[in-house]
Symmetry: C2
Subunit: 496 residues, 2 copies
């Protein structure tokens, strides 16, 4: 009884998330500008009600009853026990913080994020600092309160929100290892690519044709259009719910690669969502495992698959078909273009090889900020020092392309950044295991692309949150997470 | 204090309605088919939560405190008192029925409506009857329970949901009067039009161009695109919220009039919504006055304005501009085409002159069904008899184009039909008053269209539900509702 009461309650919670996801998608894609204030108010009310629903006092009793040794209800199956834990985790996350702290944190985050939108382009660090200090101060309080309840260090308690089970004790040696070989790898790749002659496709590329191409690629990648669609938003995302996945992209008529690679990336997220097990879909255990695992699917599609020469060989004729012949559309040139490596200031523009440097830098900084070893005012100096160390680039005085470039810290999303590089590593490890099992990508991509998705469905998607992340990876790849497959992948793709 | 607590509570209710309206719009316009089940479940949870919010036990205390003579709070303004009554009305509507009756009624309605979707095309009255009997039976119980609380007759208690303040005692003589002159008017108009040669525009008319034309007309009619948009759905509607009005239409590439007149009709609804007073928008008193008043605005746009020769003179060149010259696009031919009168079986396809006959027939029948004077099994016979009497058409054995044609009764929406003809009468009366004040439509439409909208804004839209319907009409038109202006309008347009 208590398990089924809990299930019903969390299903309702899922329904409210559905409603919020669709309205959020609408806000980003369809809503006329004048509707914004009313929408913000309506969604805020929905968020409050949804939060209240999760704080229903009956939940504590139901959880206690479900766990009581004197429980006379029919025993739970192994999967139901895991489902119960997943509900408990979501409930605990929603209720462990004092509500005045939640309110203050959310307010400071909104204020800082809102100001950041104009302070960043103005390069105004002095204006940003006091707002950021308040967010950091409250984030530290949140971390301390979570740490207390969870029995974790402060930073680990934030990491736990995005990567359940992941700890600094795992990340530190993992990233320390990468730091040993990454800077020299970047140098070597640049030296190797120095002589390459790479042609930029000459546009313009009409939006309607780019969209047609995107839809064609989504079809090729097995996106289920009966349970999802593709639209346009300023900041591309994969939203909606697993039964109705809403992808977005944006089109630059001068640059065909941006929307193309964006759509492929988001299709990776989407197929994970669409592949979640139907019977668990509306419960917490049926949701995606973690941000890192989610990113592993988008990066599997965008990096492992789409930048592979065999996939580019499929892509090239589709580009020609939409936009006509030009020398830049040869498979060989596209391969060079899509694997070009160049250290730069901006994380979101970084290539596959330099990206981890951006992430490790942010990880070290946010860890020290939360643990109190670094103060907000010293952030630019530390940023500059690490950029020099990892990528040989100075950001002195350039806040907007330095420590003010990302939205994450402005609203207190500390602990999120590692997910990007964890995703890249998980993806490389999955690609390695898959090829060991099924044969090389050369052959799979050109002859049997669906088998790639079947492997992911079988090994990743269908497990949702029924396995812990390390179980999931170990079961899928035959070993727990290391950086080895990622390193090997980069060496094979970029140095061979 | 209690008034502001109530206001805040009803604002939250408005926010949930906003969320439901946007998700409903999405369901009809954007959602892929595979998302339907999850959406239905999510919206059902939202409806339950929204209903619970309105049943919050604190509301009774707040209403009592706000009305108590010992109330020590600052006195309410006249408008706040009206606002309080509007909140009370919404609350009373949501709470006066026992919840098991609400559940049974909603279930029977869903079941009957769902079955109707396939039984109607199959002309299967025998299959429909038992489902309809259950809906009717529960509708009678709902009516009895509402009647008890409201101190009204059963049918009036249902009418009150759609047309607050309207009673059978007003409708009966009003419609009896119309019955005196309408059948002979229809005959005379048909005789007069018998010799007209009317050309049908020859298509096809590409969807993209029809949409461009629709947007142009919406602009002409003052639709605010910063607070709304136009999309496609199978059943056109005006949805969303007043801050973000979502119009829909559907395109038939063989028939340019359907989408064109549909868009004009919905734009009338939309401008009413967009014109509601901003300071009351999120409270019940800031909502549209009634279904009849709402329909008066759509019919003002579609019938009074758009079928007026001066408006057709504006329309004709826009059609030519989109689709090229053809004889059917002459203003004279379009006028004849858009005012063609022909008795038919189907209400939604009816012209301006025969439409009231369809409504009066339904009114008489549903009134007698609810009051227990007519049984479900006798419906087809009564339908046929009244169709013969009002329009000279037999529906014997033809259930699908007879008594099974409308969705309204399938889910128990008894009491709604009169709103259509009330709307037509209000619209005619407003048009008469406006022309008395500002000058004839000939001149207003061709020289100063915005003044038409200003009059409606001033006399109708800005008053939302701050005036009762009869006050609203009397204040706007100088006299309460009669059928005189409607009769005069039909005679002038169709017999002159």
């Amino acid at each position: 009884m208590s398990y089924s009461a809990l299930s019903q309650h969390f299903q309702q919670q899922y329904h409210l998330q559905h409603i919020a996801a669709i309205c959020g998608w609408d806000q980003a894609t369809m809503m006329p500008a004048g509707g914004n204030q009313a929408r913000a108010e309506a969604m805020s009310t929905l968020a409050v009600l949804s939060h209240q629903q999760l704080q229903d006092p009956r939940l504590a009793d139901w959880f206690a009853a479900a766990e009581s040794p004197t429980n006379t209800e029919p025993a739970l199956t192994a999967e139901q026990k895991i489902s119960l834990q997943a509900m408990q985790r979501q409930w605990r996350d929603a209720t462990m913080l004092p509500s005045d702290l939640v309110g203050a944190f959310s307010l400071a985050g909104s204020r800082c994020e809102h100001a950041w939108r104009s302070l960043r382009p103005a390069n105004d660090w002095a204006g940003f600092l006091p707002l950021f200090e308040e967010v950091l101060n409250l984030s530290r309080q949140v971390a301390a309160a979570r740490a207390e309840v969870l029995g974790l260090s402060r930073y680990d308690s934030l990491l736990e929100q995005f990567e359940p089970g992941m700890r600094t004790a795992t990340l530190d040696p993992l990233f320390d290892g990468v730091k040993q070989w990454l800077p020299s790898l970047i140098t070597e790749v640049q030296a190797k690519q120095a002589g390459d002659r790479v042609l930029q496709p000459q546009g313009s590329f009409a939006t309607a044709q780019q969209k047609a191409l995107g839809l064609e690629i989504m079809q090729l990648l097995g996106f289920d259009f009966n349970h999802g669609r593709l639209d346009v938003s300023v900041h591309p995302f994969c939203g909606g719910v697993s039964e109705d996945v809403r992808l977005t992209t944006r089109y630059d008529e001068q640059d065909v690669a941006q929307a193309l690679m964006g759509v492929i990336h988001e299709t990776g997220h989407a197929r994970y969502e669409q592949g979640l097990p139907a019977q668990w879909r509306s419960l917490p255990v049926g949701q995606a495992r973690s941000m890192g695992v989610h990113e592993s699917q988008s990066l599997f599609f965008e990096m492992q698959l789409a930048r592979h020469p065999a996939f580019i060989a499929k892509l090239a004729p589709l580009l020609v078909q939409q936009f006509g012949e030009q020398p830049a559309f040869s498979a060989d040139n596209l391969s060079k273009l899509y694997t070009r490596v160049k250290p730069g200031l901006i994380r979101v523009d970084a290539d596959e090889v330099t990206y981890p440097a951006h992430v490790m830098l942010r990880y070290e900084i946010e860890r020290d900020l939360i643990e109190g070893k670094l103060q907000a005012k010293d952030l630019p100096e530390r940023w500059d020092q690490l950029m020099q160390q990892y990528l040989g680039i100075s950001t002195q005085g350039n806040y907007k392309d330095g420590c003010m470039q990302d939205i994450h810290w402005t609203d207190g999303s500390f602990g999120y950044f590692p997910s990007y590089t964890l995703g890249a590593m998980y993806a490389a490890q999955q690609a390695q295991a898959m090829q060991t099992e099924l044969g090389s990508f050369d052959q799979l991509i050109s002859q049997d692309l669906p088998s790639v998705f079947d492997w992911l469905q079988h090994n990743i998607w269908q497990h949702a949150s029924l396995l812990e992340t390390d179980q999931l990876i170990t079961q899928a790849c035959g070993q727990p997470l290391t950086a080895n497959a990622f390193k090997l992948h980069l060496e094979q793709r970029y140095l061979r």
